[in-house]
Amino acid sequence: MLPLKDYRRYGRQMILEGFGLPGQVKLKEASVVVVGAGGLGCPALQYLAASGIGRIGVIDHDVVELSNLHRQILHTETTIGMPKALSAAKAISVINPQSKVEAVVQALSPTNATELLAPYDVILDCTDNAPTRYLLSDVAVALRKPLVSGAAQRFEGQLCIYNYGENGPCYRCLFPKPPAQETVGTCEETGILGAVTGIIGNLQALETIKIIAGLKDQAPSLLLFNALQTPPFRSIKLRNKKPACAACGSGAKTRGMIDNTDYVQFCGGPPANWVERGL
């Protein structure tokens, strides 16, 4: 099933009870796409590659900037100016030359998202803005794939698996209406402690590995993290999917909705810096 070298490389996880050779083979045969190669995407990609996932996609249209480097640990001073997707792909190819890495330097949009995400088993939301989060959720519903979603700002992080299992909710089940734009900060505006994105991105990799290996239960939950609080982690029991949900509900026409939604307008229109960034 596996080349001899893989037994040596992955031996420490293959002797895990409940994982074993079948778990490693599942990782090798699996494909995962990480949308966003920033603070969350970098650590997620790193541990996904190291674990032996067979095929990994990286989608990001941004380029590396000096202000990213305090948290986006796959990029370096020498890759400043390079598209993040390429910089990250290069870095994880060094971590694991056996993983097939596919870099996409494009902004995700309603017209290309379905096609770009369809070839993968699991989707990771490592993005940094509300419109793309709604778009990713809708596409994950349309493609019937689990969406491992992370977010981080200031000293806080949030982790949730959407559209997973029989009854798992989608992003719209939880947040049918987008927040008003003035309530939404970005890492540029509100700041972010690097290690916080590391912890959430790492947890996204772990949850993805659990899903692929069949170790993940299906009870919908949300993990909250606050680096300054005691206790720092809080696990929340979430609602099931909602029959009336516009995206995943019983009568929903998700694909049509994706084609006809202007996600930026839906989320209150572009703030100045989104326009610059081509969203």
Binding site: T127, A151, T190, L222
Partner: protein
């Protein structure tokens, strides 16, 4: 059982910035409150009701005074907005509920599973209001 309920309130995801930048609050509300969710008389009604209530601790169906209801999450929202919020109420409430993008958690459970605004509060309950994050 007392004539009031003691609650622990937490704000997260940036919402604490609206509440004097303090994430943890302790709060005591009267057990019965106006159906209108008017919070202007809350401390008064609390003392008014003390006698009525103390002996009816175990009889849950004791008569609820006219115009009042058992204190619920909707009332709590109004109380937080009227008495704890320091600025820009539209960033916390929208009509009679929380604004889009806020999740309410009752004892570590999504409030949708607990009846949302109609959930009747009891002493010791912990309510968390969390704004969804978008950064990464």
């Amino acid at each position: 059982m007392a004539s009031s309920v003691s609650l622990k309130i937490e704000f997260g995801g940036g919402l604490e910035l609206l509440f004097a930048n303090q994430s943890s609050h302790k709060l005591t509300l009267p057990k019965f409150v106006p159906i209108s969710n008017s919070t202007s008389l809350s401390s008064l009604s609390s003392s008014n009701l003390k006698d009525t209530d103390t002996e009816s601790a175990t009889s849950d169906d004791a008569a609820i005074p006219d115009g009042l209801k058992r204190v619920d999450v909707t009332y709590l929202l109004h109380h937080l907005r009227d008495h704890l919020l320091k600025e820009r109420p539209e960033l916390f409430m929208d009509k009679e509920t929380v604004r889009p993008g806020i999740l309410v958690l009752i004892n570590d459970t999504d409030w949708e599973l607990e009846g949302e605004g109609e959930y009747e509060l009891k002493s010791g309950d912990e309510l968390v209001f969390i704004s969804t994050l978008h950064g990464g």
